[in-house]
Amino acid sequence: MASHSSCPSIKNILLLDSDGKRVAVKYFSDDWPTNSSKIAFEKFMFSKTVKTNARTEAEITLLDNNIIIYKFVQDLHFYVTGGDDENEIILASVLQGFFDAVTLLLRNNVDKREALENLDLILLCLDEIVDGGMILETNGPLIAEKVRSHNMDADSPLSEQTLTQAWATAREHLTRTLLK
């Protein structure tokens, strides 16, 4: 699908814990048709990346003709996979969008426990980033805003805000994250 002349396409987005177990995963390609092949891929990828330091900047590697971009925070491991023809920086922007959105949605408490408690938000977040391999949105604050505006009980004032206001709040969130 990820032929060079066509659209950028994402093969999967994975959120694993520090043992390589699933928190939330979403596959968009047929490269791994069965659950066991998916698990095998996750295991292999996890073992190849776990020892690297991907905490400050997103790291990258090439495994089995797939480009994998990843970033670790606390006990959460974020991964985005694309074909080996893909523009690495586009894949990185998807990872960054996912990561930023999750940070906002979990109100900076980015760890496994918080992620599982808000699994609905994480799943909606995945749904808002990529649709069937096509990139929907890569801007973290916008993704978070789309997820949260649907979710009345998450943060009630947000859903009543207008788009611009939400934007501003989101930006503030982000600035705070960066300054921290």
């Binding site: 002349s5 066509s6 659209c7 920086i89 586009i90 699994l119 096509m134 998450a154």
Partner: protein, 887 residues
């Protein structure tokens, strides 16, 4: 109802870790899903249950058909709730369950209502869900709304419709193609991502229309493209247009290059990189065009972001294969990357440096690599080993330090693939650099002293047997080989015995010692080892007398085994034990590529003439068996070659006919495979009359008509010609199919008595020079080339005129000659300006032919070719040249 199934063991062993899903069970969650049916819906509770269901699916749990249906129906009840958060989870759940076609109906109306809702979020998501689960019939009902949605002023809605369009284009292209106007409008959208999605869809709708794509690119490269993603798309489409247009424009200026170059100054890194990569991949890119792209990539090399460094070094690594000089400017930055934390980046940097480095920098590089080899993964080590191998071939004088490096890493820990890559490299270096032979062989000997891989041990022993006896002091290898007979498993022992025998055969002085060793092997515990020892002792005359090894024995031990094993297997299976012993010389030597269907279904063999209708077309093998049923052909001798079927009729005509050409030394037989595609007809006495007036060296000897040809059951008729012996006689034959038609009553299937004679014009058939050439690979082209010698070498140069690219030219010549490409040289790396292709085969009369083709680009598109032929007969060498000259 559902029983509690196997518990998920998440976090169970780790009591301290809390998880909201601890001890979750599918059965109980399915029970909980009953809250969906409550008259008073608790939105929060329902959301939680959906989350639990999604969690289970996400962990790889599967729902049975019944369970999924139940959940699906329960979830559809939730459309009653007005809670937005819950609705969002419902959408997600429906997509995950992906209901079957008859279930989709249930939610269609709810989703269509949401599609027309005032709330943007409902509209956007309802579109995505509906398009995911819909089929063609429903699509035409909602098409109107989708068209509207594409130009909706809310970007979420527009993007949702456009993305759905991209997915639907795969299944319902004719519907989506009708949306062009709306999509076109969306391309102009002010929302950045809408533009990106619209551009992607528009291009996919028009991708087969070159002119439209070219127009699209022309207008957009002048206009404004807002999002970096859309800009990347445009760059891809632009390079596609450049690629296609470069075929017909000869002038120096490349269209759209300016646009690509301007993108190098874009503020977004992904656009800069996309443009730089596009420039490096241009066909026949010049160094002037490359320079600005290399400059931006060089900046990336020193970025703090690993992703940028990786993308840049990977692209430069590719450029280094075709334009090493263009990359040398980056060498300093590249060297600092050798110590990069990210090992992928470090490996790519090293291999790039090895490609661009010069002779003086080799030693320094090797030192740096040695430090870093121990902490990279095997797959990267293999890349490094391969780069070192090519470096060594480039700078043969440096073999000493490179060979030392290889032998050092050979001693270290490593997996099979890695070790194999090293051994292969040493073997190649030994073959290509004569000075490196003795040192290399000793390294290999030391390696097998302590090698855990049987495959590698046997390969090395075999190689020692061939190269060892040619060295200045062969006796020193014998100790290493005989050690294997003591210490190894049976497979290695057997191959060590063969190697010993080769030393004995090649060097008479060593014979007495070898005999002593071989006799000891007669007491081995394994029968294969004992058999080999016995065989060699007898063939070498191990009864004590030291005689000179005769030529036959040497051929047997050292000669190439040029019969494909598959063919040998088939022949052995077909052989029926009679008075006549099995003769290996009658095994065909042609490499047959098995048809795909055959590979997929092993064991299903067509049964020749008795094959029932509607089976897949018989294989060449089966055709040859048909030929052997004709007694007239029995005295034609051994079949030299059979061609692939050549169609003599258009597809879907009344009678389908194809022909197979069988080439014998003095004869040619045409086998016409005929199929009658008219159910109301029965054909009888079917024969092809061949007019050979344009093939005057051929004379017809016999023809064998087909008695009857019922509907849809293929039959064969044969025509045989005599021709001058052993020469590639060519000619053109015109064919007419003649037969008697009988009407068949379609209800009873019985033929009527009335018959009419009729004939049917077929297309002409040609026997060309390449019909006399047999594909046959050689394992080591260089050795084969040297051993044929320059006696009958013929060299000439040809201009092939303007060609699309080198690969196309190479393919054309390969097909024209009908020879087997060797060592993967039929693959032309993209953007290369020159290429060498090696071919081998057998010419009629069993004459070995080797061809070395050197291609070069002469000017922008003109391809020039140097053709060197070596064979065992000068007339054959000339004949090969004639094929090219007349082609």
């Amino acid at each position: 109802m559902a029983q509690p199934l196997v518990k998920k063991d998440d976090d169970r062993d780790d009591e301290a870790e809390y998880s909201p899903f601890m001890g979750i069970e599918k059965g109980s969650v399915l029970q909980e899903a009953r809250v969906f049916n409550d008259p008073q819906l608790d939105a929060r509770r329902c959301s939680q249950v959906i989350t639990k269901l999604l969690y289970l699916l996400n962990q790889g749990e599967t729902f049975s058909k019944v369970e999924a249906t139940e959940v699906f129906f329960a979830v559809t009840k939730l459309f009653q709730s007005k809670d937005m958060g819950l609705r969002r989870m419902v959408y997600l759940m429906i997509k995950e369950i992906s209901p079957s076609a008859d279930e989709v109906i249930i939610v269609t109306s709810s989703l269509m209502k949401d599609m027309n809702s005032k709330i943007d979020m409902y509209r956007a998501n309802a579109i995505r869900v509906l398009c995911r689960i819909t089929d063609g019939t429903l699509l035409s009902q909602i098409e109107r709304y989708l068209k509207q949605a594409i130009v909706d002023k809310n970007p979420l809605v527009a993007s949702a419709a456009l993305i759905s369009g991209i997915h639907l284009l795969q299944t319902n292209p004719e519907i989506v193609k009708r949306w062009s106007n709306e999509v076109q409008e969306a391309v102009q959208s002010r929302a950045a991502l809408v533009q990106f999605h619209a551009l992607a869809l528009l291009h996919q709708i028009r991708q087969n229309d070159r002119l439209a794509v070219s127009k699209l690119v022309t207008s957009l490269t002048r206009g404004t493209v807002r999002s970096p993603l859309a800009q990347c798309l445009l760059i891809r489409y632009t390079s596609q247009v450049i690629h296609e247009s470069s075929n017909n424009t000869q002038s120096g200026e490349r269209p759209f290059y300016d646009y690509l170059e301007s993108c190098l100054r874009h503020k977004s890194e992904m656009v800069i990189f996309e443009a730089a990569r596009a420039i490096t991949e241009l066909n026949g890119v010049t160094s002037r065009e490359l320079t600005p792209a290399i400059t931006v990539l060089q900046l990336f090399l020193s970025s703090s972001k690993p992703v940028l460094r990786f993308s840049a070094v990977r692209t430069l690594n590719k450029v280094a294969m075709t334009h090493p000089m263009a990359v040398t400017n980056c060498n300093i930055d590249m060297e600092s990357l050798i110590s990069d934390q990210n090992r992928s980046i470090a490996t790519l940097a090293i291999t790039t440096l090895l490609k661009t480095g010069n002779e003086s920098s080799v030693d320094r590089l090797m030192k740096q690599i040695t430090n870093f080899m121990s902490d990279i993964a095997d797959e990267f080590k293999i890349v490094v080993v391969e780069a070192i191998r090519s470096l060594c071939l480039k700078f043969p004088l440096k073999y000493r330090s490179l060979m030392n490096f290889l032998s050092n890493i050979l001693r270290e820990e490593g997996g099979f693939d890695y070790k194999k890559a090293i051994v292969d490299s040493i073997v190649i270096l030994i073959r290509d650099i004569p000075d490196a032979k003795e040192a290399g062989l000793l390294h290999l000997c030391e390696f097998i002293e302590d090698c855990e891989f049987t495959y590698l041990s046997t390969q090395i022993l075999h190689f020692l047997g061939i190269e060892g006896p040619k060295t200045s002091d062969p006796s020193k290898y014998i100790r290493y080989i005989y050690n294997r007979v003591h210490l190894e498993n049976a497979i290695v022992r057997a191959s060590a015995v063969s190697t010993l025998a080769k030393f004995g055969a090649a060097i008479d002085a060593l014979k007495p010692r070898i005999f002593v060793l071989l006799r000891r092997c007669l007491f081995d515990s394994d029968d294969e080892v004992r058999d080999r020892a016995t065989l060699y002792l007898n063939t070498l005359g191990g009864d004590g007398s030291v005689v000179e090894t005769d030529k036959d024995v040497k051929d047997f031990l050292f000669g190439p085994f040029d019969i494909p094993l598959v063919n040998l297997e088939t022949s052995l299976k077909n052989y029926e034990p009679t008075e006549k012993a099995f003769d290996i010389n009658f095994v065909p030597k042609e490499v047959k590529s098995l048809p795909l269907a055959e590979k997929k279904a092993p064991g299903r063999k067509p049964t020749g003439l008795g094959a029932p209708p509607s089976v897949p077309p018989p294989t060449a093998d089966a055709y040859e068996r048909m030929l052997s049923t004709i007694p007239e052909c029995a005295n034609f001798g051994k079949l030299f070659k059979s061609s692939a079927p050549v169609e003599l009729t258009e597809a879907e005509t009344e009678y389908a006919v194809n022909v197979i050409k069988y080439i014998f030394d003095r004869h040619v037989v045409f086998q016409y495979n005929c199929t009658n595609t008219i159910p109301e007809q029965l054909l009888e006495d079917v024969i092809v009359t061949v007019d050979a007036s344009e093939a005057d060296e051929f004379s017809e000897v016999f023809s064998k008509p087909l008695k009857s040809l019922p509907y849809d059951s293929p039959g064969q008729t044969f025509v045989a010609f005599e021709k001058p012996e052993g020469v590639p006689t060519v000619g053109k034959f015109s064919n007419i199919l003649k037969f008697i038609v009988k009407e068949v009553d379609p209800t009873t299937g019985e033929a009527e008595d009335d018959s009419v004679e009729d004939e049917y014009q077929l297309e002409d058939l040609e026997v060309v020079a390449s019909d006399y050439v047999l594909k046959m690979g050689v394992s080591n082209f260089r050795n084969a080339w040297e051993s044929l010698g320059p006696d009958f070498e013929r060299v000439d140069e040809y201009g092939l005129g303007p060609r699309e690219n080198l690969a196309e030219a190479v393919n054309t010549v390969i097909n024209l000659l009908g020879l087997q490409p060797c060592e993967g040289t039929e693959e032309v790396p993209p953007n290369s300006r020159s290429h060498t292709c090696l071919l081998s085969g057998v010419f009629i009369g069993n004459v070995k032919v080797l061809v070395r083709l050197s291609f070069g680009l002469d000017g922008p598109k003109d391809v020039a070719m140097k053709l060197a032929v070596r064979s065992e007969d000068e007339t054959v060498s000339d004949a090969i040249h004639e094929i090219v000259a007349s082609g």
